[in-house]
C-alpha cells in the first residue's frame, strides 16, 4: 500500500475538487499544489487565475506569492487589478469562475472565515494579514476552504468575519445582500467537510484513511453531523508519484 504524508493527502483532496475545464481562483501554498496536481493528472484543462491579475498562468515551479513571476509564465494575460475585480464581479453572469480557494485562522459552522485578527479587533491578541483577495472571492464565487483542524479554529463564533460563508444559515447570504454562492467544501489534515443543502450547516463528509470520526470531533469546537461520513479513498500510487515530482 502506498504511503503518504498529511500534506500529500490534503493536496490530493484539493485536487479532487477541481474538475477538468474548471476555472479556479488560486492562492499560494497548498491550493496551488493541489491545483498543479489536478492540472498534471485529472484536470489538464483547468484554468488558474490569481488575484494579482495574472490569468491562466502555468507555473513550472511553485510560486511563493500570487504575484510571483513564476505564475506569469505562459499566461494568457496579465491584467491590472481593477480588471480582475471586474471579471470576478461579472463572472456570475456566465459562470466564468467555478471555484475559489480560501484559508483562514478560524471557521464557524456556516463557513464564515476569519483571516484578520484573534481577540478584540482594536486590541488583538494576534493580528494577521487581513482580507487580501479572500473577501472578494467569498462574495462572488463558490469556494473550497483549507483549514488546520483544531478546536480553537473550528469555533461556534469567529472573532472577525473577513470572508462571509453562508452567513447564519439558509437565508443568510440573501439577508446580507450577497449572491447565492458560498462554501462548498472544507479540507483539513483530518478529512473533508461539506455544507447541508437545506440548513447550510457544515457536516463531515469524509475522514482520511487512518483518521477516526472521534479524532475529528475532538478537534472540532462545535456540534457537527457525522452520520454521512465515509472513509476517503486513499491516493493512488500514480497520483502520489506526480505529486512528489511537483513538490
Amino acid at each position: 500500500m502506498a504511503q503518504w504524508t498529511t500534506k500529500e493527502m490534503m493536496a490530493v483532496a484539493l485536487a479532487r475538487q477541481i474538475n477538468d475545464g474548471m476555472t479556479c481562483i488560486i492562492g499560494t501554498g497548498l491550493p496551488l499544489t493541489g491545483a498543479s496536481l489536478a492540472k498534471n493528472t485529472t484536470a489538464p484543462n483547468a484554468l488558474l487565475i490569481f488575484e494579482s491579475g495574472m490569468i491562466d498562468g502555468n507555473p513550472l515551479e511553485l510560486p511563493t506569492s500570487v504575484s510571483d513571476l513564476r505564475i506569469a509564465r505562459n499566461a494568457s494575460a496579465l491584467w491590472p487589478q481593477y480588471r480582475y475585480f471586474g471579471f470576478q464581479g461579472n463572472s456570475r453572469k456566465k459562470n466564468k469562475i467555478d471555484l475559489g480557494f480560501l484559508g483562514g485562522a478560524q471557521i464557524d459552522p456556516y463557513g464564515n472565515l476569519n483571516s484578520t485578527s484573534i481577540g478584540d479587533y482594536m486590541h488583538p491578541k494576534s493580528r494577521f494579514t487581513g482580507s487580501g483577495g479572500a473577501n472578494g472571492i467569498a462574495t462572488n464565487v463558490n469556494t473550497v476552504i483549507i483549514m488546520q483542524h483544531q478546536k480553537r479554529r473550528f469555533c461556534e463564533k469567529v472573532d472577525y468575519v473577513t470572508s462571509v460563508g453562508w452567513g447564519d444559515g439558509p437565508d443568510g447570504r440573501k439577508k446580507l445582500g450577497l449572491p447565492e454562492v458560498g462554501p462548498q467544501v472544507v479540507v483539513t489534515e483530518l478529512g473533508i467537510m461539506r455544507f447541508d443543502e437545506a440548513t447550510r450547516r457544515i457536516y463531515l463528509a469524509e475522514y482520511f484513511p487512518g483518521i477516526s470520526i472521534e479524532q475529528i470531533m475532538e478537534n472540532t469546537g462545535f456540534e457537527m453531523d457525522t452520520s454521512r461520513a465515509v472513509e476517503a479513498e486513499p491516493p493512488s500510487d500514480e497520483i502520489l508519484a506526480v505529486l512528489k515530482r511537483l513538490m
Binding site: 496579465l78 484578520t116 479587533y121 494576534s126 487581513g130 468575519v161 462571509v164 446580507l176
Partner: protein, 321 residues
C-alpha cells in the same frame, strides 16, 4: 512644462514630493516591483506622520512602520508571502496600538485607487457586505474628523438608488498626495514603459497629486516613442524620474531580476525584534548614502545571480530559503 526634464536624484525627489504628514501610495504587489529604493530614502530623510495607502503591501510598508514613519495605515494585505506570512513590524504596531489602521479588502482598495484615477467622488461595490469590515472600524468617524487626509467615514452601506432592493457599500476616494511606482524604463520627460503586471501602479500614479517614477533604465524618448501604444504612462503624469538600477530589490522586476530570497529571509529575522530591526536599518538604510551604495554593498555576484533567464522570466531553481 510637461516636456521638461524631470530627472532628479532620489534625495531631491523625496525631499520635494514627500513631506511629513503626507498620504503616500506605493506600486507593485507584495514581493513584485516594490519601490524599495524610494522607501529607504524616505526613512533616511526621517519622514514622519505619514498616511499610507497599502494595497498589496509587503516589506515596503512594513519597513516604514518599523522605522516610525507611519501614523495611519490603510490595509488590505501585508506580507512578504512565502517568506514572512504576516509582516512583523506591522503586526507589532497593531497589537501594541502604536499606529492607527483600517481594514479593507484587496479587491476594494484597487477599486478605490481606480476611482481616484478616474476622478470619481466615491465608488459603490457589493464587496465586504456582511463581513466585519463593514461594522468594525479601526478609525472612528470622530477620530477621522481630526484627520483631514482621511475621508469622514470608512464606508457607507446604503441602497442602490437605481434598484432600492439592492444593498451597496460606498467607498470614499482616497486623497493621495504622492504615488511612487517602480518601472523598467522611463525617459527624461516621464514617459513610462512597464513590463509585466501593472497591478495598481497606473491608478495610484493618476490618482495622486504628485507622482515619482523610479526606473531600472533611463532611456531616450525616441526609444519609447517609437511604439507609444506600449507605454502605460504619458509624460503628463509623472513629476519626478529617478534612475535607480535594482531599485525594487529585494522584490522582483519583470525582465530584469527575480526576488532575493536570502534577503527576504534575513528581513524576516531582522523584523522579529526591535533590536534586530534597528541593526537592520542601521546597516541597510541609514548606513548607506544612496542606491549606488546599496547595490555596491549587495555586490555584483549576488545581483547577477538574480538576473531572470530568458524564456522563463525568473531564475529557475533559485534558492528561495
Amino acid at each position: 512644462m510637461n516636456s521638461a526634464n524631470k530627472v532628479m536624484t532620489m534625495k531631491e525627489a523625496i525631499s520635494k514630493y514627500v513631506h511629513d504628514g503626507d498620504c503616500l501610495a506605493f506600486g507593485g504587489f507584495v514581493t513584485n516591483k516594490k519601490p524599495y529604493a524610494a522607501v529607504r530614502e524616505i526613512i533616511r530623510q526621517g519622514r514622519k506622520d505619514l498616511y499610507i495607502e497599502g494595497g498589496p503591501a509587503g516589506g515596503d510598508v512594513d519597513m516604514l512602520i518599523g522605522a516610525g514613519c507611519v501614523k495611519v495605515y490603510l490595509n488590505s494585505y501585508i506580507a512578504n508571502s512565502g517568506f514572512t506570512q504576516v509582516c512583523r513590524r506591522f503586526r507589532k504596531a497593531v497589537e501594541e496600538g502604536t499606529i492607527l489602521w483600517e481594514d479593507y479588502s484587496l479587491d476594494v482598495q484597487p477599486i478605490m485607487y481606480h476611482a481616484a484615477a478616474l476622478g470619481l467622488p466615491y465608488v459603490p461595490v457589493k464587496n465586504m457586505l456582511g463581513s466585519s469590515m463593514i461594522e468594525k472600524w479601526g478609525i472612528s468617524a470622530e477620530i477621522r474628523e481630526k484627520h483631514p487626509k482621511l475621508a469622514s467615514r470608512k464606508l457607507i452601506v446604503t441602497n442602490n438608488p437605481f434598484n432600492p432592493d439592492e444593498q451597496v457599500c460606498l467607498l470614499p476616494t482616497p486623497k493621495i498626495d504622492t504615488a511612487i511606482i517602480h518601472v523598467q524604463r522611463a525617459c527624461f520627460d516621464g514617459t513610462c514603459r512597464i513590463d509585466g503586471n501593472v497591478f495598481v501602479d497606473i491608478d495610484i500614479a493618476m490618482g495622486a497629486t504628485n507622482c515619482i517614477i523610479t526606473c531600472e533604465e533611463l532611456v531616450s524618448d525616441e526609444e519609447l516613442r517609437k511604439e507609444p501604444w506600449l507605454n502605460q504612462l504619458p509624460n503628463l503624469v509623472p513629476d519626478a524620474v529617478v534612475h535607480v538600477p535594482f531599485g525594487a530589490h529585494p522584490s522582483q522586476c519583470t525582465n530584469y531580476y527575480d526576488y532575493d530570497g536570502a534577503f527576504f529571509v534575513m528581513y524576516d529575522n531582522a523584523s522579529r525584534t526591535d533590536e534586530a530591526f534597528k541593526e537592520y536599518l542601521d546597516e541597510w538604510v541609514y548606513g548607506l548614502e544612496d542606491n549606488d551604495a546599496y547595490i555596491n554593498k549587495l555586490g555584483a555576484a549576488r545581483l547577477s545571480n538574480l538576473h531572470v533567464k530568458p524564456g522563463f522570466g525568473y531564475v529557475p531553481g533559485l534558492k528561495r530559503r
